[in-house]
Every structure is written in C-alpha cells, then in structure tokens.
C-alpha cells in the first residue's frame, strides 16, 4: 500500500520541488535586482563607471542594432508586401511594418541581440572575477561588489535599451521602405503617411516600457549568473563560468519572450 502511495506522489512531489526551486531562484534574482537598483546612486564614484558601461553596452551595440534592424525591416517589407498584395491592400504596408517593429520586434530583437553581445560578456567578466577571488577582495575591502560591479551595468542597460530600441525602430521602418517601396514598387507617399497615421504615442510607450523591462531582465540575469557562478554543483573554475554564460544567455532570452507576451497581453 505504502509503496503505491509513494510512486503516485513522487512525480507530483518532484514537480512541486522543481516549481518551488524555480520560484525561489526567480525571487532571489528579483532581490538581486532591487539591491543593484538601490545602489545605483550610492556614491558619486558610480557615475563614471556607469558612463563607461553605457559606452560598452550602448554605444558598442549601435552598429549591430542598425544592421539587424535594417534586415528585419527589409524582411518585414517583403513578407508583408507579399501577404497584403494577395488582398490588394499593399497600401497598408507602412502601418503593418511600423506597428510590428515599434510594438514588438524593436524591443525584443534589440534585447536579444544585446544579450548575446553584452550580456554574455557581463556574465563572463563577473564570473572570472568571482573564481579569481576578485569579488571576495572587493568584499573584504569594504566595497560592496554588487554596487561596484552590477549597479553601473544596470544603469547602463536602463539607459541604453530604450535608445537602442529607438534606433532599431527607425532603421526597421527604413528597411521596410527599401523593400516594400524601392524594390517592390509600392507607393512612397502612401507608405510614409501610413506610418505616420498608424503609430500613436501609446505604441511608442509600450515599446519603451518593454525596452526598460528587458534591460532590467538582461542585466539582472547575466550579472546574477556570473556573481553566483561558484555555487554551481559539479562545475568549477573556467568550466563553471562558461556554463554560467550559456545559462545566462538562454535564461535571458526565455524571460525576454515570456515577459514580452505578458506585457503585450496587458497593454493590448
């Protein structure tokens, strides 16, 4: 009898355990985020660090974002033109491209691209500092490692993500113009006026809210994974850092898409 009971309850218990562990971990990350947020303005010396990080995370990603944005817009232009032309409504191309890019693709793709470029290097940097005692050295010098290492990066992400998203949006709309109008021969005036008519301030705000949330997610997840790289079981040293980096990129991307869905369903 008792055996029956245990075989029945084991999978359920396991599911419960995993759920609890995941929730605990997410809660832990949220506290990590709150701490680094609170420490952004902890001292005047934070400002130059934040500027340096903004240069790396923001300015360093501009070219990549422009490239990705352009091609995304171009593909959108082609595909949407093809679909709309089936109903004879090519005129709506501008509206379709602009809404998709500003509300969805801009924030999401920009965030995922920056995760790959800057997020992974944040994890690796902090992870290497952890395994070579540099984080402990900060700690015993009385310098809060979260404030020193994470807060400037968070500030930089919160500033950079909306700006990068803006770049993505603009160049994406240009990309749609390139294929939809210049290549496929749509009407230029109609494209532009449709873009102007369809985009409202609300759409732009949704995009920015998403960009801010994604910035917070990417920075928090990537820094958290690096900061606690030494707590992984069975993985130590450089191997641990590389696995943390992988996990950080995967988890950031998943959380970006998950929260994108939640935000979209809230704001729609």
């Amino acid at each position: 009898m008792s055996q029956d009971k245990s075989t029945l309850s084991t999978p359920v218990a396991a599911l419960g355990r995993v759920t609890l562990a995941v929730l605990a971990r997410l809660g832990d990350m949220f506290l990590f985020f709150l701490e680094s947020l609170a420490l952004i303005f902890s001292s005047p010396s934070q400002f130059p660090k934040a500027v340096r990080q903004t240069y790396f995370i923001g300015v360093g990603s501009v070219l990549l974002i422009l490239l990705i944005g352009l091609f995304t817009g171009m593909v959108m232009g082609l595909q949407t033109y093809y679909a709309l032309s089936k109903f004879g409504s090519e005129g709506f191309l501008g509206a379709a491209v602009a809404l998709a890019v500003v509300r969805e693709l801009g924030p999401v793709l920009a965030a995922i691209m920056v995760t790959g470029r800057a997020g992974s290097s944040m994890t690796a940097e902090i992870g290497v500092m952890r395994i070579s005692d540099q984080v402990d050295a900060l700690e015993v010098m009385g310098i809060n490692p979260v404030s020193y290492l994470v807060s400037p990066k968070l500030a930089a992400c919160l500033v950079s993500f909306p700006i990068l998203t803006t770049f993505f949006d603009l160049i994406g709309i240009v990309g749609g113009y390139v294929t939809g109008v210049a290549l496929m021969g749509g009407n230029a005036g109609v494209y532009i006026s449709r873009v102007q008519d369809s985009i409202e301030w609300g759409d732009v705000w949704v995009g920015y809210v998403k960009a801010l949330v994604f910035g917070a997610i990417v920075c928090t997840v990537c820094c958290y994974k690096g900061y606690y790289t030494h707590l992984q079981q069975d993985l130590a040293g450089p191997e641990g850092v590389s696995s943390s980096t992988t996990q950080a990129v995967v988890l950031s991307s998943v959380l970006i898409l998950l929260s994108d869905y939640l935000l979209t369903s809230i704001f729609l």
Partner: protein, 276 residues
C-alpha cells in the same frame, strides 16, 4: 595606533555546506603580533582565513575581534572593521580591468575624500614600498606572480590597516624573492606595529616571521604556541612536518606503476634512452 585586538576563535568549526574541514578550533591569535597558520596543502588554512574574514558562515562557534563577535556584527560595524584590515589573497586578487595604480588607489577612492593628488602620492609611496614604483601603469596580467603578490600587498596596506591577513604570501616564489617578502612583512610589522595573520605551508617563511604559530592537520588544530615551543615539540607528525620528511607511503612504489614501453608499442630510442 590603538592597541590591536586579539582574534579569538571559540569552538569554531569551519567548512562548506555543512561539511566540516577543520573542527573545534579554540585559539587566541595574539593582537599586534605575527601569527602564522601553518599546515599542509588542503589542510583548511584558506578555509579558516575565509571564515575569519566573514566570507563564509561558520558551521559552529564564533570568531571575535577583541570583544566583538563578527558573526553577529551589524553590516555597518562590519564595514568599519573592513576598513581597518587589509587582505592579501593567494594570487593577489587584483582587479584585472584596472592598472596597478588604480588597484591600489581603489580603497582610498571608495572610502576617503582625499584629493586626487594626495591619493596619487600615497599610491606611489605604497608601491615604492613593495618595489613596484616603475609599474604604475601596468595591468595585473602583465606582471609575474611575485609582482602580483607584492602589488596585492601594497593594496592591502593602503588604508594603513591594524591587522593584515596574508594567504600564502611566499608560495610560488623563488627562495630569494620569498625571503625578500618575509623581510618586507617584518619591516612593516616593526614600522607600523600592525598585527598580522599569515597563512603558510612554507617552513622557512614561518621561521622567518612567526611570533605565534597554529598548525592545522587532520581536520583539527595540531599545535598552538610560540615558535620556540613548536621547534621543541616531539609529536611525530609535527616533527616530520618540521623536518620535511616524506611520510611512509602506503601505496605502490613509483617504479611498480611504470608501463613497459614495448607494451605501448612506442620506440623512442632514436631520441633518448632511459636506463636500458
């Protein structure tokens, strides 16, 4: 300088995730002296040091600086204490993204309101003390291991700490450089009167600087007392350690595990011959 407090380890058991590495430590490291924590590799010296610095929570027992139990101290009080101690980690633990000068200046920039010029002077002074005044603009990865240790020492000294903690200051150094470092530590101890807690497996290092010695081994404290007392101890394990004798090995002899080259089907006789 106010008198340096003793460091009292009371019923302390240290380890990771509930697994004890060293148990039942009951030792007072006398303030203002050079105490050496001696032990073989893996005996738990670094682990003990990390607990004394409150980087880990003890499994049982307490660590007290003077009358203050640091495990119960508030964050703010701990912050005060941290500004009065200096730590040299095993590999220096310099921040890789900063130059030597910036590394040494870091505690001053974060904790004081000194002018840029004054900080620069102090940093140059401390780096000159350890003989690295020509390397201000070098990054840690451009230095040798010994230089990184000395730079780490300069950083640990920059706030003029009351107690200096060093993890294996002489390991991985050639004997001359190691002896130089011993001299440097002694000189700083005499000049500034700071207390030191030095983790080491190096007997020469211990003999050169120690006032007080505690020996770790076998998951416990094997000995505590002055250096003179240690030299005259007659515990067989300690004697072997002090006389640097190898333990009687239980396993196979070295030769027994050698593989016959003919089995491996390699013929290196063209390049060298080994006793054949």
């Amino acid at each position: 300088m106010p008198s340096v407090p003793d460091i009292r380890l009371e019923n302390l058991t240290v380890g990771y995730e509930g697994k004890a590495v060293v148990s039942d430590i009951d030792v007072v490291l006398p303030g203002g002296r050079i105490s050496v924590i001696l032990g073989g590799s893996g005996s738990g010296k670094s682990t003990l040091l990390r607990h004394i610095l409150r980087l880990e929570e003890p499994i049982a027992g307490t660590v007290c600086f003077g009358d203050h139990d640091i495990c119960r101290l508030s964050k703010r009080d701990m912050h005060c204490i941290k500004q009065r101690i200096g730590v040299l980690f095993q590999d220096g633990a310099l921040l890789g993204s900063l130059t030597l000068a910036d590394n040494v200046a870091l505690p001053l920039r974060e904790h004081t309101r000194l002018s840029r010029k004054r900080i620069q002077e102090i940093v140059e002074g401390k780096l000159a003390l350890v003989g690295l005044e020509k390397f201000l603009d070098y990054y840690p990865n451009e230095l040798s291991g010994g230089m990184r240790k000395r730079a780490g020492l300069a950083r640990a000294m920059v706030m003029d700490p009351a107690i200096l903690f060093c993890d294996e200051p002489t390991s991985g150094l050639d004997p001359v450089t190691a002896a130089d470092l011993d001299q440097l530590l002694l000189e700083m101890h005499r000049t500034f009167g700071m207390g030191m807690v030095v983790v080491s497996h190096d007997l020469a290092n211990m003999r050169a600087i120690a006032d007080f010695v505690m020996v770790l081994g076998d998951g416990r404290v094997l000995f505590q007392g002055t250096r003179q007392e240690l030299e005259s101890v007659d515990d067989p394990y300690l004697r072997r350690f002090l006389d640097r004798k190898a333990e009687e090995r239980q396993g196979p002899r070295v030769g027994e595990t050698a593989v016959d080259a003919s089995v491996m089907k390699v013929d290196c006789s063209r390049y060298w011959s080994m006793g054949k």
